[in-house]
């Protein structure tokens, strides 16, 4: 099995830091996580840390209609190019924090997703070079207020419905050394598995997504591309716990209020 490393960002004694997670301890690093960070030799117990989102993206893009199984269910044709939208920065949420229902109590759904973490400045890269620009992978939940999405018949409110504060938890770590084609995404609601789908069912592979999107937009280290979700999307009520689990990465857990 390939060597994987789980990079985490955390708060400890009022200061922010980062390092690698192994079991219940974190080896603290310094410098730039994406550019040869140096080990400090210090270790901290995970229990004493507040985990943060593993990166601070300049942008988070999210795919729509990228899984064959869901497309078949919704009767959607395969798009010739990736279709994506933007998760607004105010929506980013740390692991363990609470997803808050906006005023008006719209119905919320979970969408468990794989997040691609970019590791280098990426523009106009060929498919064959794309993987070199990927740092690793993380778990994410593309929380959506479904009623708001189609409320206005003249304008689908993608940004708003998916961009409320707290609507984009991601983490708990950014893991390097993984082969995305072998990954499976599971979403659990109050301990019950609601989604369980393979990344191999993606219409556009990781390298295709990174390459094609980089022809439109320069991607920066820390930027995240959420790969889209598959079947099993469902609603979350206040008081629930929603978890997105990807074997090899970990479990992203958040409460809903």
């Amino acid at each position: 099995m390939a060597m994987t490393t789980a990079w985490v960002r955390f708060r400890h004694n009022g200061a922010t830091g980062f390092g690698t997670l192994a079991g219940d301890r974190v080896d603290v690093f310094e410098g730039d996580m994406f550019a040869q960070p140096t080990a400090t030799g210090r270790q901290l117990a995970l229990a004493g840390l507040k985990l943060l989102t593993p990166t601070q993206p300049s942008k988070v893009l999210a795919l729509w209609n990228n899984f064959g199984q869901l497309a078949a269910k919704l009767n959607l044709a395969r798009p010739p190019e990736p279709l994506y939208f933007i998760k607004s920065p105010n929506s980013y949420l740390d692991p363990g924090e609470t997803i808050r229902r906006p005023r008006g109590d719209p119905k919320l759904v979970f969408e468990g997703e794989l997040g691609i973490v970019i590791g280098k400045t990426t523009k106009d890269v060929a498919v064959g070079q794309a993987m070199d620009h990927v740092f690793g992978y993380t778990c994410a939940n593309d929380v959506t207020a479904v009623d708001i999405l189609q409320r206005d018949p003249s304008f689908a409110q993608w940004v708003r419905a998916k961009g409320f504060d707290t609507f984009c938890p991601f983490g708990p770590a950014a893991v390097t050394g993984l082969d995305p084609a072998t990954l499976n995404v599971k979403t659990l609601l109050d301990g019950v598995v609601r989604q369980d789908y393979p990344i191999s069912d993606m219409r556009f592979s990781v390298e295709q997504l990174v390459s094609m999107i980089s022809h439109d937009m320069t991607l920066l280290p820390g930027d995240i591309i959420l790969c889209g979700t598959s079947v099993g999307v469902g609603s979350m009520k206040p008081g629930s716990t929603v978890e997105v689990e990807i074997g090899g990465i970990g479990k992203l857990s958040n409460r809903v209020e």
Binding site: K59, W64, A77, F155, G163
Partner: protein, 254 residues
């Protein structure tokens, strides 16, 4: 009234106020408490950058009554908005590069609101106290990308190519937005000329309603939308968005 700019000089980034040709350098926090350093440079000595670094730029879709005068569309009940990602930000004088996609590229001259304080759930009456000032913007759009896929309006891509959000040249504070007029001039010819007072959701409404959905941070922009007169930009053109009281944002398209 002041005109705040961000600029590069001597290998570092600074900010200050612009008075005619003079750049008065400040330090501290532009939105909270800034003090002059005493250094005054000439505009020609510095490189103008975007006047702020937004965590996000929200762009209004249909927000001008003129667009609805033909009666074909229903007036929206709530602000309809999109996002311009950070790779689109471009300063005054920067070059908008033609993307490789196959599409007409259009200009959309707009007024941009610059947020000055963290705001969430602010009332209409309080909203203006959270606004730092105003600047000019061009919500450049690849029109044909938008509807290429009939099942999904590809806003993020159509409005998200590198350099597709020039804004500046400065942030003007102490202005009343109601009296402002937005003009877009392409190769010296006036193509748009519309009053900000024609907005469906005026500044306090936009800030108040959007702040109910999303926390807005200092430096965030809300582009107020464009009115009639949008058109295609051809490579080699100079596009200017001019708002009297703020200044003239000028960019080439190549």
């Amino acid at each position: 009234m002041q005109h705040w700019i961000r600029f590069a000089f001597g290998g570092a980034t600074h900010f200050g106020t612009l008075e005619g040709d003079g750049v008065h350098e400040f330090d501290g926090d532009m939105y909270l408490a800034a003090r002059p350093t005493g250094r005054v440079l000439r505009l020609s000595e510095v490189e103008l950058l975007t006047p702020c670094q937004p965590s996000k730029v929200i762009a209004m879709y249909n927000n001008f009554a003129e667009l609805f005068r033909k009666g074909e569309q229903r007036i929206p009940a709530e602000p309809q908005y999109l996002l311009k990602p950070p790779n689109t930000y471009l300063g005054h004088g920067g070059v908008i590069r033609k993307p490789t996609c196959d599409s007409r590229i259009i200009f959309e001259g707009e007024l941009a609101i610059v947020i000055g304080r963290n705001c969430k759930d602010v009332s209409k009456d309080q909203a203006l106290s959270f606004v730092f000032g105003y600047t000019c913007a061009n919500d450049v759009t690849a029109a044909d990308i938008l509807t290429r896929d009939p099942s999904f309006p590809h806003w993020a891509r159509a409005k998200g190519f590198d350099g597709f959000c020039p804004f500046g040249p400065a942030i003007a504070t102490g202005l009343d937005p109601d009296g402002l007029v937005v003009r877009t001039i392409v190769n010296g010819s006036v193509r748009q000329d519309f009053p900000v007072s024609d907005m469906l959701f005026p500044v306090p409404e936009l800030v108040s309603r959007i702040s109910r959905d999303m926390t807005l941070s200092p430096g965030d922009l809300i582009l107020c939308g464009t009115s009639v007169g949008v058109g295609v930009m051809k490579p080699g053109s100079t596009i200017e968005v001019e708002i009297a009281g703020i200044g003239k944002l000028s960019n080439r398209y190549e």
